[in-house]
């Protein structure tokens, strides 16, 4: 790994920190405690002290967003980082250690709402909700946006090295059911995503898999295993950039970042459809500064603030007002905003507490086979 790719690995919200999970926990805990424990600061008009503890993914905010917010609202935002939804969930599982705003993905919004870990949002305090695109104002994983506000969304697809493929790999077949690119493929290590996408390949809904489907998918996975080089921990774009593999199952936002560095990289959402994810702003129960949290979420949904965030992270934004301010190179990028007919075949995965352990056990069998 040369220095540039090392830097790149560090600049991705999901890749580098994941391995450093332990270190990150240590950091964020001290950070959060330092944020809460300081001596009584001046009070705001809403009766809360001028502080806010924000628990976010790495490199998932605009370069100056937190400073801009301090200048406009006078609130110190203490941002600490997590590397996976599991880490976020584990941290809050035994009670909120002092976070005001968190950024869980859609299935974890459902899971945390089911576990009674989220505070219902007061939409009257978030007027910028009007900036959110219609499609994201009411979503199946959080009806009427009771607990969450959309921050970004992503779609899984195939990232590939253009010079090494014969044709655009526009079907899951090349990854899941073919030896055409033997030993040059990396897929996700997340069991649930893998099973659901195999389901898509078989023409099923990501939320409609039966036990018989799981059995069939497991057999397909075992058959395909010799053709797969690695199960990656959501750092597929790095494997692609370094030339370790030529095809990779990844999120469109991650591949869009890689395409900035290497023009030989392409991305396609397979014709069978795919799975969508969305990261959301929520307030966990027991947040020490709930009014500041509402105000901060409202600020993040502002058009200008949203534009600055999007410029940095290059993920698809559900904020229409922010998107309107972005250059055409972003708005018309088919990787970041896939065509509507492709998106129509994509689905969100529902949180399913019965199926998750089954996915994991079946995937453990696949790895052991």
């Amino acid at each position: 790994m040369d220095f540039k790719t090392f830097l790149h690995a560090g600049s991705n919200r999901r890749a580098m920190l994941k391995g450093m999970g332990v270190a990150a926990v240590g950091f964020s805990l001290t950070g959060a405690l330092a944020g809460c424990g300081e001596k009584e600061a001046k009070k705001l008009a809403n009766g809360e002290e001028a502080k806010l503890n924000f628990y976010n993914w790495d490199t998932y905010i605009g370069e100056t967003t937190l400073e801009d917010y301090k200048d406009s609202a006078g609130v110190d935002v203490n941002m600490t980082l997590f590397a996976s939804n599991d880490e976020l969930f584990a941290k809050l599982r035994a009670g909120n250690p002092g976070y005001d705003v968190i950024v869980p993905s859609n299935d974890f919004v459902e899971r945390m709402a089911a576990a009674d870990m989220l505070m219902p949002l007061d939409q009257a305090q978030i007027p910028n909700f009007k900036n959110v695109a219609k499609d994201y104002q009411d979503v199946p994983y959080d009806p009427a946006r009771k607990y969450s506000m959309p921050y970004t969304w992503l779609a899984l697809g195939i990232g590939y090295r253009k010079s090494k493929v014969k044709a655009v790999p526009d079907s899951w077949k090349v990854l899941f059911d073919s030896d055409e690119y033997k030993g040059r493929i990396a897929v996700l290590s997340e069991a649930g995503d893998m099973f659901r996408l195999y389901g898509k390949y078989m023409g099923k809904s990501v939320n409609g898999l039966t036990d018989a489907d799981l059995k069939a998918i497991e057999a397909m996975m075992i058959k395909q295993k010799p053709n797969i080089k690695a199960f990656h921990e959501d750092n597929g774009q790095d494997l692609l950039l370094k030339g370790e593999v030529d095809l990779v199952l990844e999120y469109n936002g991650d591949i869009a970042q890689a395409m900035v560095e290497d023009s030989d990289i392409g991305f396609v959402i397979p014709k069978e459809g795919s799975q969508l994810n969305s990261d959301n702003l929520c307030i966990p129960k027991g947040a020490p500064h709930p009014k500041n949290a509402h105000a901060f979420i409202n600020y993040l949904l502002d058009a200008e603030a949203g534009k600055k965030i999007t410029e940095t992270i290059l993920y698809p934004t559900p904020n229409d007002a922010a998107k309107a301010l972005m250059p055409d190179a972003y708005k018309n990028n088919p990787v970041i905003f896939p065509p509507a007919d492709v998106l129509a075949k994509c689905e969100y995965a529902k949180f399913n507490p019965e199926l998750q352990p089954k996915y994991e056990e079946a995937f453990t069998r696949v790895r052991a086979a």
Partner: protein, 303 residues
């Protein structure tokens, strides 16, 4: 040792004063949390964030299914191979340090310790950079290959085919190599401390009395270094058995070890009770290993 033992029996109060703090520490931060995890292993999920401890044995029943037993066995095999390689590589290294000139010894020891002081993750990433398809090892091999090809053209033979990179990373070979690399200091240091105490005149006597080098090594050095070997084996085998970062980062599609499975239970599967049961089976296995070792050392003492 026995003198010190008598001392604390006759002077209980000072001993109590000294021992209370560490015992309290151990109880609060080791025994209590482990007891909670142990209780979890007899429970089941009652909601996304709640565990009901119902006294069920289902988790253990599931953990002893062939799938998980086979992963346990595989982990033992990988950890055992790692330990064996560490011993084979580490013994000559420890010998070399022992017999080096005194002014060199601290530097050689520092050479062993230095990687030890670097974060495991950084060392693993560094190794991955070395071993990748376009890493330095493959670049070096490609250079040699091209050199050989050029030499063949010099003597009028056909040049070799184009170089195809060797797949060093993302397979079981990479996992064992990574584990050996990471655990070598654990083996070398106890071996060195055993060999350092060895009375070198015994080696001279053996050689003077006509034993060859190999015979001296097998019948004098190895038996005298046995406590160091046992300590080194234990201290390498146990962490290697619980390794999860190396198989995760360097392994291929079939390189999972038991610790990876445990990690997934606590994180993605959100099945803490089952993860706890697997963890405790691993801990019991380690207890048995340690018990074997202490039984063995008792026997040695008795003889």
């Amino acid at each position: 040792m026995s003198g010190a033992l008598q001392d604390w029996k006759s002077q209980k109060k000072p001993f109590a004063a000294v021992v209370t703090a560490p015992v309290f520490w151990l109880a609060l931060f080791f025994v209590a949390p482990m007891a909670i995890v142990w209780l979890y292993s007899f429970g089941q999920n009652a909601g996304p964030a709640d565990i009901e401890i119902s006294g069920t044995l289902d988790n253990y029943k599931r953990a002893t299914e062939w799938l998980y037993v086979s992963i346990f066995l595989k982990s033992f095999a990988v950890a055992g191979l790692t330990t064996l390689l560490c011993l084979i590589i580490g013994f000559p290294v420890a010998m070399a340090i022992t017999f080096a000139a005194p002014k060199w010894r601290p530097w050689l020891l520092l050479g062993i310790m230095l990687p030890f002081w670097t974060n495991l993750l950084i060392r693993t990433y560094a190794l991955m950079a070395l071993m990748g398809t376009n890493g330095y090892m493959n670049k070096g091999l490609a250079g040699l290959w091209e050199g050989a090809s050029w030499l063949r053209t010099l003597v009028g033979m056909q040049p070799l085919d184009a170089w195809t990179p060797v797949q060093l990373l993302y397979n079981n070979f990479a996992v064992v190599l990574g584990l050996v690399y990471v655990h070598l200091p654990f083996m070398v240091l106890p071996l060195y401390s055993a060999l350092d105490r060895l009375d070198k005149s015994l080696i001279e006597a053996s050689l003077d009395l006509g034993a060859g080098h190999l015979k001296t090594f097998m019948q004098i050095v190895v038996p005298l270094a046995a406590p160091g070997i046992v300590a080194g084996v234990m201290i390498t085998l146990i962490p290697a058995l619980g390794a999860y970062l190396t198989p995760d980062l360097m392994g291929g599609t079939d390189s999972q070890m038991i610790a990876n499975v445990i990690e997934r239970q606590f994180k993605r599967a959100n099945d803490w009770p089952f993860g706890a049961a697997l963890s405790f089976l691993l801990i019991y296995a380690m207890f048995i290993l340690i018990a074997f070792q202490s039984m063995r050392s008792n026997k040695v003492k008795a003889a």
